[in-house]
Symmetry: C2
Subunit: 160 residues, 2 copies
């Protein structure tokens, strides 16, 4: 597997799993009916650094972005988002993307990384904690999970 910066032509290879993940409505706080055009604008917005993970056959199996979480006096704290093709979970792709993004963010001068809305039932919470993130707090009942009922959204933080 290799990780490289995404180019515009990667989008059609990201969209199938992007759509599947957001439509499942159990990990992302975006409209499950988000159109492909709106999805592209969200994921590959100007100012976001976007990466893709490719397997050894050149198939895009995951993507991630890093961007300032806020602006002005808070612009040196990064935010990031991650998606792994649901057919390819359990292969270390998420961890590899996260390690890449953490290195990139640190090299770019960010002093910390924050995730603003991690669904507390998301298995990725364990991955983030194994990578040194801590739960700063949890907004209670903020996310209507399709099978778990109302669950909290964690804010997670790691210094870089």
């Amino acid at each position: 597997m290799s990780i490289r910066e995404a180019v515009a032509d990667d989008w059609p290879r990201i969209w199938p799993f992007w759509h599947r993940i957001v439509a499942a409505a159990d990990t992302y706080a975006w409209d499950p009916d988000t159109s492909e055009e709106d999805a592209r604008a969200l994921w590959m917005a100007p100012g976001k650094q976007v990466f893709v993970a490719e397997d050894s056959s050149g198939v895009v199996v995951g993507s991630a972005y890093v961007t300032p979480n806020y602006g002005g006096p808070a612009a040196d704290v990064a935010n990031a988002g991650f998606m792994v093709d649901p057919d390819r979970t359990g292969q270390g792709i998420g961890r590899a993307l996260a390690e890449h993004i953490l290195r990139t963010a640190k090299d770019d001068g960010y002093r910390a990384m924050v995730f603003n809305a991690v669904v507390e039932t998301n298995p990725a919470v364990k991955l983030w904690m194994s990578l040194g993130f801590e739960i700063v707090g949890t907004v209670p009942y903020a996310y209507a999970h399709p099978t778990q009922g109302r669950v909290g959204l964690h804010i997670m933080h790691r210094a870089l």
Copy 2:
């Protein structure tokens, strides 16, 4: 003082204090050099409900917005932002705007309100707590305050 929905023509009356507050770079996590055009796009974005407070002479002395904090399964939690003309602080304008926004959000079916990035040195923290908000957590050292050094950003929450 009265509070009403903002119209497009209100923007030129919001911008002077908007600019002054954001340029001070001690309460908002936006670029202090934000242009008027970008500021308008931020404050009066489609999907935001925007209000203004007018004094008895019809002078706009404050503004606030309410909008979903996130989308999809999290869209029934509101976010809001508030600005009061720095020349008119201490007159209850912020509290009146906040009470109005809390009522509006509840009437519109939001089940809670969240502030994502309250600078911990902001005097408004006391106001939010007096209105029933709690500090969910604090992202440490996330904001470079011009006189206080690096300070934290509170995430604050109130059920509606």
